[in-house]
């Protein structure tokens, strides 16, 4: 597979065309905005926490295929996870797309983002919504 095919796998294009959880979460407990001032892309990320567990996640906004697919799959990946698990997942995802650290294991669905590491300029696209998710979690812990 070429680097380009690796980057734009069909699963990413599918999530870009038909993003999952692409809506406002009216009963959200946590919210954060992710904004990339370099390109103007931005996403709102909402989380609903039941105790320590993310029971629902959703997003809205504008971005490229990488950032939108990443946001879509992030909301799927963190649903049902505890705060600690979601944070750990963020760290592993970050390591994989930046190509830093060892071959961190990712849930198989997120493996499609491994190709991003060949395009350093696109790392910010892949991590935009993940940073917003992490910030949303922090806003929660601050309020506690």
């Amino acid at each position: 597979m070429s680097e380009l095919d690796e980057l734009y796998q069909s699963v990413i294009l599918d999530h870009n065309r038909a993003p999952r959880n692409f809506r406002r979460l009216d009963d959200a407990t946590n919210h954060a905005e992710g904004r990339n001032p370099l390109c103007g892309d931005h996403f709102d990320v909402w989380l609903k926490l039941d105790g320590n567990v993310i029971s629902d996640a959703a997003f809205l906004g504008q971005g490229c295929a990488i950032s939108k697919a990443s946001a879509s799959m992030m909301t799927q990946a963190v649903k049902g996870k505890t705060i600690e698990e979601a944070r750990a997942l963020f760290e592993r995802f970050h390591e994989v797309v930046t190509g830093s650290g060892g071959p961190a294991a990712l849930p198989s669905k997120l493996e499609v983002f491994r190709g991003v590491s060949a395009f350093p300029i696109r790392v910010k696209c892949a991590t935009l919504s993940w940073h917003a998710m992490k910030t949303a979690l922090e806003s929660h812990s601050n309020e506690d």
């Binding site: 680097e3 370099l38 892309d41 295929a65």
Partner: protein, 425 residues
């Protein structure tokens, strides 16, 4: 194109006139055009961000450091005098290139941004009063908006937008209505860094002057593509960058009318800009030295001089005709791609073209083009108010310089087809 015909030729035009543009000959002067990117021959379509450099510029900088390096002015030794002569020669060249009345009206700056900030802080800071108006166009680069915000905050002046039409031109009727007794400064770009749209700057300057306002022109995108004649434009200030004109980064030119420069306070204080210094006060040198505090970027000035020598030898009529043909052909071919929207489609433009592909984010298309060795720009191009005006987040921008070819336009179109295939399936 009517707006080009309205730009009279610069004073002395040299070069080989009357022949078509010899792009192969020009390309041979640019070493970087021989390299490969991601295994493909480089197709560089990002000259509006920064132009590539001819061998003459690279060699001039190298030769300066190898054989002529010394600080300018003040030195009594031979090297310093040589450096001073080389430095001041470029001021004369620049005045000739822009057809300024006098080389004392040319200030060396770090670039267009620095030039515009200097005007805003020094001129704006001394003439603006609370309630005064600064008019900027909706198509300005952030560097011709934010410096005005900064001085407006300090003085209580307000910044207002001159609207632009759907076809990418300034709404001159609206502009005329906006001009009033409170209008102190009109700051507009000569050519849009996003759409390439050329503004009728001579008419804008005349209208602004009629209303008693000073005219500040961002010439970053016009200078590489049009024959700029400052005496014909009759603007009060004009800023441009060396690196978009095939010269080095870190050096730009600011033109200001002598009478205005003489009345302006210094922008920065330091060595080289003084007449006399006491512990509690100082008096300042006349312009242009008043505005060049500290050791200037001497090697960059020398490099800019080599770039000016290089472009002054061109037949600019042939260059303008060639670039206009190239961008028109690019617009025609890109316009035929399904789902393409060209921003400011109706505009007379320098060889800079922005467009959107339906269903494809510009960054994704830019990445596909990058894997083919094609360098374009994707994003808001530091022109967020313009993006907002057209209801988009970002565009793809292809810009063409003196060395670009029709084959490269074809490669771009093929690359965009490829992007559609990869991203839309």
């Amino acid at each position: 194109m009517s707006s080009l015909a309205a730009v009279p030729p610069r004073g002395p035009v040299s070069g080989r006139q009357g022949r078509p543009w010899d792009v192969a000959r020009v390309r041979a002067d640019f070493p970087i055009l021989g390299r490969r990117v991601r295994g493909q021959p480089l197709v560089y379509l990002d000259s509006a961000a920064t132009a590539q450099k001819p061998r003459a510029v690279i060699d001039a900088i190298s030769a300066y450091y190898a054989t002529g390096n010394a600080n300018v002015h003040r030195g009594v030794h031979a090297l310093s005098q040589e450096a001073t002569t080389a430095y001041e020669r470029v001021r004369v060249l620049a005045a000739r290139f822009l057809n300024a009345e006098s080389d004392s009206e040319v200030i060396f700056t770090a670039g267009t941004t620095a030039g515009l900030n200097l005007v805003a802080q020094s001129y704006g800071g001394s003439v603006l009063r609370a309630g005064d108006e600064i008019l900027v166009s909706e198509m300005e680069h952030h560097s011709n908006i934010i410096p005005w915000h900064l001085v407006a905050e300090r003085t209580g002046a307000v910044v207002r937008a001159i609207p632009i039409t759907e076809s990418g031109g300034l709404d001159l009727a609206a502009f005329e209505r906006q001009l009033g007794p409170r209008t102190r400064i009109v700051a507009v770009t000569h050519a849009s860094n996003v759409m390439g749209a050329i503004n009728p700057i001579n008419a804008i300057a005349a209208m602004a002057h009629e209303a008693g306002a000073a005219v500040v022109v961002d010439g970053a995108q016009s200078v590489p593509h049009l024959r700029v004649d400052l005496q014909a434009i009759d603007c009060d200030f004009f800023a441009c960058s060396g690196h978009k004109l095939y010269g080095p980064t870190g050096i730009g030119l600011l033109y200001g009318k002598r009478r205005l420069l003489e009345a302006m306070p210094p922008w920065q204080g330091g060595g080289g800009m003084i007449r006399e210094v006491f512990i509690d006060r100082s008096t300042y040198a006349p312009p242009p030295e008043r505005f060049e505090a500290g050791t200037p970027p001497i090697a960059e000035v020398v490099g800019l001089g080599a770039a000016l020598d290089y472009v002054l030898a061109w037949d600019w009529e042939a260059l303008v005709a060639y670039e206009q043909g190239l961008v028109a052909e690019a617009a025609r071919r890109i316009g035929r791609i399904p789902g393409v929207r060209i921003m400011g489609e109706g505009a007379d433009r320098v060889s800079v073209l922005s467009f959107m592909l339906e269903g494809i984010h510009p960054h994704d298309a830019g990445t596909v083009l990058d894997t083919l060795g094609i360098a374009v720009r994707a994003g808001h191009h530091c022109a967020q108010p313009l993006m907002r005006r057209f209801g988009v987040n970002a565009t793809l921008r292809a810009s063409f310089g003196a060395y670009n070819t029709l084959e490269e336009v074809e490669a771009l179109v093929a690359g965009l087809e490829q992007a559609r295939k990869v991203l839309l399936g």
